[in-house]
């Protein structure tokens, strides 16, 4: 049944996927930043995302703002429940964002803004992963409000999901640099991409197994016959995507490893969707319970239907303007 609420769940999910995919590689470059040589390599790595990071981050605002607009109850329960990781994420995004400008403005303290760039990127990724894990493991809800303590989000499972997102973003960042740069930096990125791919697969496997034991319904959703025939396609497809990722990497392709890494991310999202559908707060609040009234949904849907294609069009144009390798023009 394709009602308004389902449409809005898809739009919010799209915004979150768009955010993770696009800011993911920005943050990944920040995570890997200290391993790049000071000077030309670091400048090139940052320049490869400087013109687009702000647009990429805007999808996070759409995810948050859209959640408030379309599922206000979910927004009102989830944000207090994830208070500490979300505040840490916001502060980290501040450090990451200003570092783009500040490192050019203050050569004497560039080293410090590079550290801020890395710490901000890493903690933001970690906090996002922890937030995801905390949602999956279940939050305490009473009535229309969060009813748990302010450390409920912390557990070995959430730390594992946090690690997974850090590694995943770093992989995207490495693949992006393989695509957009040349020379020593590109070779370094290829090496990192290969290693990070293995670590990511390990973490995803652990998270998947742990998720099955979190809630009986996750277990049932994935493993009950005959639905297992459908759900088993996700790990199968992941294995194929992994194979293609490594093949493209070993064949020294520029763009393909990034694309296959994105496919892997997409499959992880599909897996998440299979686990939690049709809830907005897993096993607690369904999308229909949290939905805004139809008048709010329709009003926004008109805007989204007109504006999101336009946004995608000029976003693609902006990427097109800065297409190709980040070359060394401008160096004296």
């Amino acid at each position: 049944m394709m009602d308004l609420t389902v449409i809005w769940a898809i739009i919010i999910a799209f915004a979150i996927v768009a955010y993770v995919v696009m800011d993911g590689f920005d943050l990944g470059i920040g995570i890997l930043f200290p391993f790049f040589r000071v000077g030309r390599d670091r400048d090139m790595a940052m320049n490869s995302v400087a013109p687009v990071w702000d647009g990429n981050e805007t999808w996070l605002v759409l995810g948050g703002g859209g959640l408030l607009a379309a599922f206000p109850l979910a927004y009102a329960i989830i944000l207090p429940a994830l208070y500490a990781p979300l505040i840490a994420m916001l502060l980290s995004l501040i450090l990451r964002g200003v570092a783009f400008e500040f490192r050019w403005r203050d050569a004497d303290h560039r080293r410090w803004w590079d550290v801020a760039f890395t710490v901000g990127s890493t903690v933001a990724a970690l906090a996002q992963g922890i937030a995801l894990g905390a949602l999956l493991q279940g939050i305490t809800v009473e009535g229309r409000a969060y009813a748990g303590g302010w450390w409920e989000w912390l557990s070995p499972f959430t730390l594992l999901t946090g690690l997974g997102v850090v590694v995943g973003y770093a992989l995207l960042g490495a693949c992006w640099l393989n695509w957009k740069t040349e020379g020593a930096l590109q070779r370094q990125a290829v090496t990192y991409a290969g290693r990070l791919g293995i670590v990511l697969l390990g973490v995803v496997l652990l998270v998947s197994l742990a998720t099955l034991s979190l809630e009986p319904r996750y277990h049932e959703r994935w493993l009950a016959y005959p639905s297992v025939l459908a759900t088993a396609q996700v790990p199968l497809a992941s294995m194929i995507a992994t194979f293609l990722f490594y093949r493209s990497l070993s064949r020294r392709k520029d763009a393909q490893p990034f694309v296959w890494a994105l496919v892997l991310f997409g499959l992880c999202f599909l897996g998440l969707g299979i686990s939690i559908w049709p809830d907005v707060i897993p096993a607690r609040v369904s999308i229909w319970e949290a939905a805004a009234p139809p008048r709010s949904q329709i009003f926004m849907l008109i805007g989204a239907a007109v504006l999101v294609p336009i946004i995608l069009a000029y976003t693609i144009w902006a990427y097109w303007v800065f297409r190709g390798k980040v070359d060394s023009e401008g160096y004296h």
Binding site: D43, N47, A50, P51, D54, G55, E57, T58, V61, L62, G64, G65, G66, L67, L68, A69, A70, P72, Y75, A76, I78, L79, P80, Y83, A84, L86, I87, L90, L91, I94, G97, F100, E101, F102, W104, R105, D106, A107, A145, Y146, G149, W150, A292, P293, R295, S296, F299, M300, G303, A304, L307, I311, Y314, T315, A318, V321, V326, S328, G330, Y331
Partner: protein
């Protein structure tokens, strides 16, 4: 105090702190984006190098201001949920869509074209680049439109229905919600304030460099443009502020009573209290210097019109008087000082001494931060003046907060304070450094200038090349 009261107070302090910091950046970038569009447009039209040079000068400053505005703004969009979850649950169906429209129509527009504006000068044509600058400028204005609509709806809620679960639900017409009674006034007043803030910041930078070298063409041009803005917009702002005040009197009379310091009703015409010390314990203004009946004259356009005071408002619905009273006086005084400087500049222009009057330049320099202070003071008037409600008259601030423990909010507030002072302190320092350098037509790039592979360096080289070309063909205009 109970733990919950502490948690509420800390959450309010955190919101006030983060929003005050944030507001300073868009107040500057709304005006600066338009200024950049004007400069680039004039450059395209006239080909005069001085405009290209000023564009490049202020673009570097804009990039830093805009980055700080973006990152401090994301905090705001999440803080509604983290710290004011009950408010978000109840008001979300009404204000959520307006904020979603802000993201869709403004944030993406700004962010999507900012990259081209900052780094794309040598990648796209000049006209396309100008279009990108205009898109960013339009985005800043559209953003102000939506967020001020949200704020105004919270001040003067209309067009809603009350749901069975306690939520505010949209009524049949979104126009009634968006164009709520205080919105047009607040939008005009705030956008003019942003333009004035920019004008006085630009004017101060121009004045600073004129004091050191009155022949600098860039400094002369920016000072002249800023003073035109001051002379034209500051008087407009006084009129707009008056209309906004009358609108507030109609819809939020308690706020105006606090602004005026009127604890008591004045059935035969209220006095205008110029100065005094509000004493809320005794419910009177100590040491008041007042003009009899002038308040009635301003607010009712009739010196004998009766004016109700806070004695007509139940104590539990009264806003704090002292802070609103003082913030209002700071804002108004600065507004008149701005108009005064604007008039002085007209006089200087008439006497052909605009670039040759150090006292005027010193005054403009001193007035540099006046816009920022006035914006914050005005924000305090309107936000503290609508207490104790988040949705005016309908939802109390005390009933809006998240169920968080006080230590959690205390920890986050302390971290916000530390990070903001360090990060934005450094940012302001970098802005001042950029402003301290004079705009030179052929100034070499500083040694610590951005070295960006596809970034600002080649763009500047292109600009400089074109300037040189223009200078050659036009015989040294710049």
């Amino acid at each position: 105090m109970m733990d919950q009261e502490w948690a509420l107070l800390l959450a309010r302090a955190q919101f006030a702190f983060t929003v005050s910091f944030h507001f300073l950046f868009p107040a500057f970038s709304i005006g600066l984006a338009s200024y950049l569009a004007v400069l680039e447009g004039l450059w395209l039209k006239t080909g005069q190098g001085v405009y290209a040079n000023l564009f490049r000068y202020w673009l570097k400053i804009f990039a830093v201001v805009f980055a700080m505005g973006v990152v401090s703004g994301i905090v705001m969009s999440y803080q509604f949920g983290t710290n004011w979850s009950v408010f978000s649950d109840k008001a979300g169906p009404v204000i959520g869509p307006l904020m979603a429209y802000e993201v869709l129509t403004a944030f993406f527009l700004e962010a999507g074209f900012l990259g081209v504006m900052l780094f794309g000068m040598n990648k796209v044509g000049r006209k396309l680049h100008f279009a990108a600058t205009c898109a960013v400028a339009a985005g800043t204005f559209i953003s102000a439109f939506w967020i001020l609509s949200v704020n105004s709806w919270m001040q003067t809620p209309t067009g809603y229905e009350l749901g069975a679960n306690g939520q505010f639900l949209p009524g049949p017409s979104w126009i009634d919600i968006i164009f709520n009674p205080s919105f047009p006034y607040r939008l005009v007043h705030t956008v003019l304030a942003a333009y004035l803030t920019t004008a006085f910041a630009v004017g101060a930078v121009g004045a600073w460099h004129l004091l050191k070298d009155r022949a600098n063409p860039g400094a002369r041009k920016m000072f002249s443009m800023a003073m035109w803005m001051a002379a034209i917009v500051a008087p407009m702002q006084i009129v707009a502020g008056d209309f906004h005040g009358l609108n507030t009197l109609e819809h939020q009379p308690a706020k105006v009573m606090a602004m005026e310091g009127h604890y008591e009703s004045h059935p035969e015409g209220g006095p205008l209290i110029l100065f005094g010390v509000p004493n809320s314990a005794e419910k009177r203004v100590d040491y008041a210097v007042e003009i009899p009946k002038a308040s009635s004259l301003i607010l009712k356009h009739d010196p004998d019109a009766p004016l109700a005071g806070l004695d007509t408002i139940p104590d539990e619905n009264e806003p704090p008087v002292g802070i609103v009273f003082w913030a209002f006086r700071v804002m108004v005084a600065l507004g008149f000082a701005m108009a005064g400087l604007g008039l002085w500049s007209l006089l200087a222009r008439a006497r052909k001494r605009l670039y040759d009057w150090p006292l005027l330049h010193t005054a403009a320099l001193v007035m540099g931060p006046s816009g920022f202070i006035a914006v914050l003071a005005g924000w305090i008037v309107t936000e503290v003046g609508r207490q104790p409600f988040t949705v005016y008259g309908l939802l109390r601030t005390a009933e809006s907060a998240s169920p968080l423990d006080a230590p959690a909010v205390a920890a986050s507030l302390a971290t916000f304070a530390a990070v903001y002072f360090i990060v934005f302190g450094a940012g302001v320092l970098y802005l001042l450094r950029l402003m301290a350098k004079p705009p030179e037509p052929h100034e070499a790039l500083p040694s610590d200038a951005p070295i960006r592979t596809s970034g600002i360096t080649p763009a500047l080289q292109v600009l400089e090349g074109e300037e040189r070309h223009i200078v050659e063909t036009k015989g040294g205009v710049s």
